[in-house]
Structures are given as C-alpha cells and as structure tokens.
C-alpha cells in the first residue's frame, strides 16, 4: 500500500478500529514523505523513539513518526545506528516536532541533527548520559539539582522579564512561563515544561496489558476515558480481538460524558477569569450534577478504570439510561440560559473578543489540533475524519470558528456540549444489547495503535509487546504537545493580565505532555 505518491510500501496492521499502516523507511524516504505530507496539508500526530538493540544488532534505535492522512493513520519507522543515533530535524515542515524531538533525545538518547537541542523533560535531575528508555538502563535515583535553563532573552530599552512558576497562583498544574514584557504588553512568552515528568513510559515496560490500562488512564486524569479507550484499542489490536459491540457504544457514551464534564468546567473558569463569579458558580454546579450522575451510574466520578481491555467494566440499565436522558434535557435548558447571559454580558465579551488570537494561517503553520485548532478553522476531529465505531453511525458534526480568540474557543465549547448531548441521546437509544466484555489473551511481539478524539484533541497510544507478551514499549501522546507552542504565540501583544484567561481558554494538559 502506498500513500501520497511516495515509493514507500506500507503494511496495513490487522484488527485496528481505523485504517492503520506502518512502514520501515530510510532517511531519504522519511524526508520525502514528510515534505509530501506537508504539501498535502496533512499533519504530524506524534514522534517518539525506541531502543531496538536487543532485536536487531545492525540498527540499534528507532525513530517513529505518525501522520494523519486522508486514508487513516500511518507510522514510519526510521532505524538508527547504535553508535550514532541521529535523525534529520523534522521541525521545519512540522514545527510541533521540535519538543517531541527534544523529549526523544532526553529519554532514548536519539538526537535530531539540527534545531533546538536544549533538554525538555530532563531538568538536570538525572545525568545527561542516563537514558530511561534504553533497555539496559538500570533503575536508579539521583540527587536533584536546580537547573539553570537557557531561556531566550529579549533585550532592549524597557524590556523586563516576568518569571512565573513552576508553582502557579491557583489550583493548577506546575509549569514555568517566562514573559518578556514592555510595560503591560507581552513581547515574548517562553514555556518551560516537564516539571511533572514522572517516568510513565519507563513504568509501562514489563507491565501486563490489563495493568497498563490503569496507568494509561492516569497520563492525564481529565482525559482518563480517552486514554483508556485509545490504550484498549491498541491492546485489542495486539490480541486480535474486537470488544463486543455494546461495549464500544458504552465507551462512546463515557467519552462524550467526559467531554461535557471538562467543557462545563472550562466555561465556568472562563467566566471566573473575567470576574464573572456567577458564571463559575453556575457551571461548577452543572458540572457537579453531571459528575454525580457519572458516579452513581458508573461508580467513579471521573469514570477512571471503566474502560478495560476487552470491553467495559460497567453496564447501563434502563433506569440509568432514563436518568441520563433526563439530565441531558435539563442541561440543554440551563445551557441555553447561560449562553445567552454570556453572549449579552458586555464586560465578558469585551475581555473575550480578540484576546489571545491564533489566526487560521498561524494555526495551520503550527499544526494546532483539537478544540484549539477548531476555534481557528482547523478541521481536525477524529470522530468526523476517521470515525471508529460507533461514530461512523452517529455522524457527529464538527464545530469550528474562525476568529481563534478566547471568544471562539468558548463558542466551540458551547457548540460541542450541544453536539455531545445529541450524541449521548442517540447512543442511549441505538446502543445494541449484549455482553460488555470478552477475555483477551496477549500475543508476543506485536504492535497496536489506539487513536481517540479526547475533549482536547486526539490521543494516540502506540503499544508494543515483547516476547513474553508483556508491554515492551508504550508511547502515549497528548494533543497538548501540538498546542502548547501555539499558546506562546497567542500571548504576544496581549497584556500580561490577560494571560490567565488565554491560558484557561486553551486549558492544556501539563501531565499529559510531561509524562
């Protein structure tokens, strides 16, 4: 199978929910394919490395690059020599690759030949020659140091720096923002992330497939359903077994509920950040109502560990379906009221409109995806572009805006809640009957991919088993990787006090990208 008229022969991987292909390439083929993908306006999904020295002495390491093509997901693997594992810098066609390349360098010790070579996930708290994802690296702990990171300095008359974090002033995750400002206006923002790096990918190695689902569900807690589903898709592809149809529909129900949970919270906090406490309290109330029904029906407020390899852990009875239906109706009514209040609140609109703009051109150039991309006219939504079951039957409508400001990101959230409410009602009515779980048996030396549209954007899980059937390598990719760099651009020329609002309107995951 070939794509983009490139002479690379791909093999379709069996038992995947959507078309998934893989190929081994050389440097020249990889670069040509990247250029072709860029010219065809396709996007980079993820980039990661692995250690293959025990499998093939000839090539030691591997670089994996996944693309979203019109046909489906393709993964190109570039073998790298043991003594000099260097690959071509891909950040020119795909700027989002830059931080992923730096992470691969920190974790596996494979390096791009150019571009930004500063460490990303390594904060000097483990030695420069300790590569946690190399297979012969021992478990070890090191003395922590206080890293001196080479931030880019903006110089000139009247330019001052504002350093924020890692611990922020609210109940949020840690990260460091370095503003270079002139008076109130932001000239440049540089992010320093990786503070929450807790070695998740190394933790996966040697785990059984069932245990891995729990860990995948804790890469980013607010997207636990999406991660668990993507992981289970990958695990099920490895085992060559599709889950029962009812389980797949229940997964979609949980995923849409997760989307609404997070969107409700964000809309509340967006109100709060423009001093409309009314908005925060109303939306937090609706979110709590929503979460409580999740806890009552599925046994966990955030629905963690409800999606398991082979199916789901909980079923829904008729009374539960009725409760969900009633709640959807009530929420729809409340949303209409709150949306019209947001729309007509002059103070709120004044702060939302034109703040933190990412133009469609910039979004396209940076490869911005998910919710943030859709607010800047980027038509990426896996549920529509590559619908897996049951989305092929649900026909979700994509929600987009063109302005790319805080207001657009709020509007997309309103629209997506409305669409998810419609999907949930449809799921409840059309869900097939039957069992909700089937047993899986892990297969040795196999590879599987899972790809799911979480509320932020698409989550990718690339899973591989070793000769013992346990996890050999599991890479979890969060959509925040693509969108964090866009936040740096969105802040430019805005006033510093608007940054919390812009940041909230993105609401990216720190944990998901720090791993």
């Amino acid at each position: 199978m070939q794509f983009l008229k490139q002479p690379v022969e791909f093999k379709a991987l069996p038992d995947h929910a959507a078309l998934t292909c893989a190929a081994r390439v050389n440097t020249r083929e990889l670069m040509a394919f990247c250029r072709a993908a860029h010219d065809a306006e396709r996007r980079l999904v993820a980039l990661w490395g692995s250690d293959e020295r025990d499998r093939d002495a000839k090539f030691g390491f591997a670089l994996h690059v996944a693309f979203d093509l019109a046909e489906g997901l393709v993964c190109l693997t570039l073998p790298l020599p043991t003594d000099d594992p260097v690959f071509p810098d891909l950040s020119l066609p795909f700027p989002a690759a830059e931080r992923m390349q730096r992470a691969a360098r920190d974790l596996v010790g494979i390096s791009p030949d150019a571009g930004d070579l500063r460490p990303w996930l390594r904060h000097d708290n483990w030695p420069v020659d300790y590569f946690p994802l190399r297979r012969d690296t021992p478990d070890k702990q090191f003395e922590t140091k206080n890293e001196d990171y080479a931030f880019v300095r903006v110089e000139g008359d009247g330019v001052h720096e504002i350093a924020v974090g890692p611990i922020h002033a609210g109940i949020i995750e840690p990260g460091h923002f370095r503003f270079s400002a002139m008076g109130e206006s932001v000239l440049r923002l540089e992010e320093r992330l990786g503070w929450k790096h807790k070695g998740i990918e190394r933790r996966f190695v040697g785990m059984g497939l069932a245990d891995g689902a729990k860990l995948a569900g804790r890469v980013s807690g607010d997207s636990t359903v999406a991660y668990a589903w993507a992981y289970c898709q990958a695990a099920e592809a490895i085992c060559g077994a599709m889950p029962p149809p009812r389980a797949i529909w229940l997964r979609a129900l949980l995923l849409e509920r997760e989307r609404i949970t997070n969107h409700l919270g964000d809309l509340g906090y967006l109100g709060n950040d423009v001093a409309l406490a009314f908005g925060l309290m109303q939306f937090m109330r609706l979110k709590e109502d929503w979460i409580r029904l999740s806890a009552q029906l599925f046994g966990h407020r955030l629905m963690m560990d409800r999606i398991i390899p082979g199916g789901v852990a909980v079923d829904l009875d008729a009374a539960g379906a009725q409760a969900i239906n009633d709640q959807c109706q009530a929420l729809e009514h409340e949303l209409r009221t709150l949306k019209s209040i947001y729309n007509e609140h002059a103070g709120l609109q004044d702060r939302f409109l034109t703040t933190g703009r990412v133009t469609p051109q910039l979004a396209k150039r940076l490869g911005v995806i998910g919710l943030i991309g859709r607010a800047s006219a980027q038509w990426w939504d896996l549920r529509c572009n590559h619908p897996c079951e049951p989305y092929d039957l649900l026909e979700p409508k994509i929600a987009t805006e063109r302005n790319g400001d805080v207001a657009a990101r709020a509007l997309v959230r309103f629209a997506e809640i409305g669409e998810s409410l419609r999907l949930i009602r449809k799921i409840i009515v059309e869900m097939p009957l039957g069992i909700i779980h089937s047993e899986l048996r892990s297969e040795p030396d196999k590879r599987g991919f899972g790809w799911i549209e979480a509320w932020r954007g698409d989550v990718l899980v690339a899973l591989e088993t070793g000769s013992d059937g346990k996890i050999r390598r599991c890479h979890c990719h969060d959509p925040s990787w693509q969108n964090w760099p866009a936040l740096e651009h969105a802040a430019i020329d805005n006033i510093v006090p608007d940054f919390p609002l812009i940041n909230k309107s993105f609401n990216l995951s720190y944990s998901g990208q720090d791993l």
Binding site: Q141, W195, K198, M281
Partner: protein, 176 residues
C-alpha cells in the same frame, strides 16, 4: 442583569452541610496545641501544590469550591502564595523535577504549618511509585500530618481530611 438575577433566584442555595472530620486519616498525632487549634478554629488558609499528579486530584480540589461543597462557607480558603498559608495541600507523587520547588514552598510557609498529602500517589507514590523521575510519596520530601487516600479522593473525603488536620488532638479514653 435581570436574566442573571432570575437564574440565581431559580437556582437557590444548593450548598450541603460540611462532613465531620475523619481522624483515621491522620498520619501523626496533632502537633498543634489545643490553644492553637482553638485559636485557628476553622479559619484556615490553604496553598495547593501539584507536585506531579495526573491532574485528577486537582479536579476534585476544584470541586470543593463549587456551590455544593462551598468550602469557603466553612471558613477555609485557598491562597496564591505559601507565605499566606497555614496548610499545604500536596497532590501527586513528588516528581524529581518538582522536588526543589516543593521544598522551597514548604520553607516559605510560616510556622505553625500543616501538610496534607492528597490521593494514593501523595500517600504512597501510587501507580507511579519511585523511580529516576519520581520521589514517590509526599512524606519522602516534606513532613506530612494527614494523608487522604483515593484515586482521586472525593470532595467529601478531602474535606474530612482537611478538617482532621485542624481538629484538636484526640483525648484518650482515660482522659490522659
């Protein structure tokens, strides 16, 4: 303005009574004297520190501020700086990259200070454990007074733990 007032009126007051403290969550005996806990009452200022969580615990800490749990009505509020705080609420295993920041925040908190470790990760290191990148549980890095397990703990469990941190020391049955 009118639609907003109408919505507030229609919503009414949804706040629920606060739960009792749960003494079983205490990791150490109360270090504060009775006079101190009496003085403090429930007027407590919390600084939250995410030391490396998956952000699940943060969602539940956020929920404490919603109208149902209404933590501020109990007299407890969150501050933006450890210098203004009586209690540090720490989530996650402590990531190596956060170790220095957590210790600095602890040092910046004025005495007498309390530390509450939140979630299975904060209590034991949880699913992430100890590694090249993780120091494991919070008490491996700073002293902990109360541990609230759960993945994540519910808002009610969080309130029970926070209230336990400022409750007077339990008298033993013989009155000693």
């Amino acid at each position: 303005m009118f639609p907003m007032l109408r919505q507030i009126f229609r919503t009414g007051i949804v706040s629920e009574p606060a739960p009792d403290m749960d003494d079983a969550l205490r990791a150490t005996t109360q270090r504060l004297s009775e006079a101190m806990t009496h003085q403090l009452g429930r007027a407590l200022v919390i600084r939250h520190i995410d030391a490396g969580s998956c952000n699940g615990c943060e969602l539940e800490i956020h929920a404490l501020g919603n109208p149902y749990y209404n933590l501020e009505a109990v007299g407890i509020k969150f501050a933006a700086s450890p210098r203004h705080a009586d209690l540090l609420l720490v989530t996650g295993p402590v990531a190596k990259n956060m170790e220095v920041a957590v210790k600095r925040a602890y040092d910046a908190t004025p005495e007498p200070k309390l530390v509450v470790a939140v979630g299975d990760c904060g209590c034991t290191g949880g699913i992430f454990g100890e590694s090249y990148a993780s120091c494991g549980r919070v008490s491996n890095v700073i002293p902990v007074d109360v541990s609230i397990p759960g993945c994540p703990p519910t808002p009610l469990q969080l309130m029970q733990g926070i209230l336990a941190a400022i409750a007077p020391a339990r008298k033993t049955s013989d009155g000693a």
